[in-house]
């Protein structure tokens, strides 16, 4: 439970962080809240030789609304999402999902950029951003680019983010219809065994921990769009998926949970 040795650099700005990443190459990793990276380092599942600490970039901690969009700085802590009055008005779903991440200590450290970059299919906020149809802004040596959440996640702990890129901002549409998030876990602090996020009155549905990435449940979305009932739409939630098998749940049970939770989430989001 002791990490391998590493060097530590403090980034003074996003540009500085990106320059440090470029300088140290593949051996470097950004350190934000540290609540995913440090546990992995302690288990020696990650052994970066340089940590570039972006945790002090307070300029990237903000929540702004305008033009129907909520823009959130990548270093915004989960607890800031949870308690922001602005977010509660503009995108209550994100605030309420943030409140279900881990425990208070985790929420005070973990960041929105960190949880997206970490790309854990069992995490809550990535699925929420996906259901909301959000956009991730990434800055690299050549400038910034916008990536649709739907295109961002590529596999277990993998995304389209390049090694020398940093997430600087996350954008989600403001307002927009009935929503709900169902998180099923055994202890309050745990990741979801299965989670279901419904946004836009059922037009955006995503699943947590049902595969190697957060998954857009397009079959459910199509069924809702076609006028199916919540029960009918939920029945296809796990179709074609290969959910993981672990100590909490085998694939069969995960499929069952996905259907039950999807129905509950759709109902709560106003789909009859």
């Amino acid at each position: 439970m002791i990490p391998a040795a590493f060097d530590y650099e403090v980034a003074e700005s996003a540009d500085h962080a990106i320059a440090l990443l470029a300088e140290h190459g593949d051996d470097a990793k950004l350190l934000a809240g540290g609540h995913s990276l440090i546990p992995m380092m302690r288990y020696r599942l990650a052994t970066p030789s340089v940590l570039v600490d972006v945790g002090r970039l307070d300029g990237l901690r903000y929540i702004r609304t305008g033009n129907g969009t909520v823009s959130i700085g990548a270093l915004t802590r989960h607890s800031e999402l949870e308690h922001s009055a602005e977010l509660a008005g503009a995108c209550p779903m994100l605030a309420s999902v943030a409140a279900l991440v881990g425990d208070p200590a985790v929420r005070h450290r973990g960041t929105l950029g960190g949880t997206l970059a970490h790309a854990d299919p069992a995490s809550d906020l990535p699925a929420a951003v996906l259901a909301l149809g959000g956009t991730i802004v990434a800055q690299g040596p050549g400038g910034s680019r916008e990536i649709a959440a739907a295109d961002f996640f590529t596999g277990y702990f993998e995304s389209v983010l390049a090694a020398d890129e940093m997430i600087t901002e996350v954008r989600v549409p403001a307002g927009g219809g009935g929503w709900n998030y169902q998180k099923f876990n055994r202890r309050a602090q745990d990741w979801a065994i299965v989670g279901v996020a419904v946004a836009g009155g059922g037009s955006g549905v995503s699943l947590v921990n049902m595969g190697s990435t957060p998954i857009r449940a397009s079959g459910v979305e199509a069924a809702v769009a076609g006028g199916a009932s919540a029960a009918e739409a939920a029945a296809v939630a796990a179709d074609g998926l290969e959910p993981p098998d672990d100590l909490n749940a085998d694939a069969e049970y995960r499929g069952h949970l996905a259907r039950v939770l999807t129905e509950r989430a759709l109902n709560a989001a106003g789909v009859a």
């Binding site: 002791i2 055994r186 202890r187 745990d190 049970y253 039950v260």
Partner: protein
Amino acid sequence: MTVTEEAPGHVGSRRLRKEDPALLTGEAKFIDDLALPGAIWVGVVRSTEAHAHIVGIDGSAALAIDGVNEVLSGEDLAPLWGEGALPCAWPVTPDMKSPAHLPVARGTAKYVGDAVAVVLADSRYAAADGAAAVVVDYEPLPAVVEIEDAVADGAPLVHADLDSNECYTWGLWGDNAPAIDAAFAEAAHVVSERYLQQRLIPAPMEPRGCAAVPSPAGGELTLYSATQIPHILKVMTAVVLGIGENKLRVVAPSVGGGFGCKLNVYAEEILCSALAMQRGAPVRWTEGRAEAAVSTIQGRGQVQHIELAADADGKVTAVRVKLLADMGAYLQLVTPGVPLLGGFLYHGCYDIPNYMFECTSVFTNRTPTDAYRGAGRPEATYAVERAMDSLAVSVGVSPEEIRARNFIGADAFPYESAAGLIFDSGDYQAVLDKAVALADVDGRRAEQAQRRASGSSKRIGVGFSSYVEMCGLAPSRVLASLDYGAGGWEAATVRISPTCKVQVVTGSTPHGQGHETCWSMIVADQLGVDPDDVEVLHSDTAVSPTGLDTYGSRSLAVGGTAVYMATEKVIDKARAIAAHQLEASEDDLEFSGGVFRVRGTPDAEVPLAGIAFAAFTAHDLPDGMEPNLEAHVTYDPPNFTFPNGTHIAVVEVDTDTGNVDLVDYVAVDDCGVQINPLVVEGQVHGGILQGAAQALYEDAVYNSDGQLVSANLADYLVPSAAEAPRFRLDSHATPSPTNPMGVKGVGEAGTIAAAPAVINAVVDALRDLGVTDVDMPASPQTVWKAIADAQGGAS
């Protein structure tokens, strides 16, 4: 007690704990806080195989790391301890098999976590890097993982030099076998159940650690260890390593919980001690959390078969129990004895005339088991309380009615059980009645019926667990009859200083319980002083040379009683001095509120403070009396104590997901007289959560290769405060006649009671769906599958 009616005193009050300010402000010093410049740090290379020949150990990569100085194999280290170094103090039968247990394995690794080599380094970091870099070449051998596989025909042998995996078979039935057979033959109802006690990982807040510090000049060694048992550890270390006891001191600094897992003599303690003596330098080791999952003992691990015979009214006439118990790969300090501690209690709190218990214990290629909170008694309570519910169904009465029909009556005490114990006191029916009222069982049942009728997927279940446990370990002669390797007494010294401050030295070793608070309250009341004027010293064999430490809910009933008796002795001496000063007869003196008074003579009085100073100056003491106020007592209890209670769990089970919510939890306990209800409640809360954890969350899962799959706290689900139910507690004290304060003990009660209450509630919620059993832990998936299986049987 000395406390008089008009001065109610501190005992019984909810006094805040003395220990907490230092703990809460980080001032308390734990083993890893020790600053030991120049210490050699030990990193332990642990087997990644459940069973394998160690073909080669290559330390070259480790030695290339800066700060790593040596890599030592079991062969290299063997001269430090010879053969069979780690002690097992409980040979339960004369023919018990006790394989040689080396601190570092030679030749063969026998479980994942078995120490196979050691790295010596300049820092903890270098030790960790070094241990990770040692390459061990294993030749895998077939492993025995599950308990029942250990006794299957053709099972591979855990120990090739033994002819089977059976460690011992121990039975308790005397000449009763024919009567038991007859009871079963004549029974109107027979219940026959098989239950599994999964292995549990103790997971105290602080993992283990130790540091051995030699004094090369005099040849002395001080061993610091995060242990529950400095006194026992001292004797054992001295014997194992041939160190004179006069040269050895053992200190337990602040210890962050133990739950039994620090009631042991571990490889690392012997290793660090031996190396420190050899090198003439401090040698230390701090356990990592993931390391702890395999290197520290685990709890439970039993397959239980229980049968009840009952007449047409449900009166139980016989209980017959057969256990298979998992010892793991080796025997640790009291590993073989743990099932026996439950072996006397499989009749629960019921008056059952015929009793048979048999336990066969087996070796497996897994981490050794040993005492874990409750040690044998949670297992016993689980089996009998689950079986009583099955009997209630068979007879067609409620769980509370089947218990009422079988309880040992309040007028039956002292009660001699069929297993041969003398139960001290209790009123089990009164306790149950209180719990039923507090839990509003009728209201819950109405809710249950209404939810069922409406077809709700949220089912309500009400589960009972009535328990009695033996604690206050233990009368030394009884331990002798069980072939335990030590006594069960406890020692205390009480000293009053010239300025009338009180020093209590206890042989009991707290690691979170609150001894300092409670001992202070007891003594303060006896002497009429302020509890803050009482200091309690412990956990260092140089300060408290005599003691048998803390486990088995023994601290108060045995150690606290010793303190009480030593204080009485001090008062006796003070009385003699007071009589001398007041020129009165001792018989005419009364002592209360810290003042001796001559009865009937208003102004003739002397405060304890005056006597303390007089005893110190020794200018004018009765002829022949020694100076100073001080007394030492070693108390050997005449009997165990028998706390008891009824716990009721109310659960809501979501039949769509299998999720179990613990919505209410009522506990009515009889732990005898309570010294500090706040401390009692803390023990009960934690105990219940630990028992509920076995029922719902915790499981040391091994795969078929013998790998521990749930080796970290993300996969091994220790519940937190967020998972705790609403605890609603009450008590019904029947003072124990065994000791002068009437105390019984409460350290394990919650854990003993909770698991069956919770599982009985889950089964109660689902019984109308055809579910009759749910394995522990009742995870959502397990519950969902139990429902599906029960329903599938119909479709």
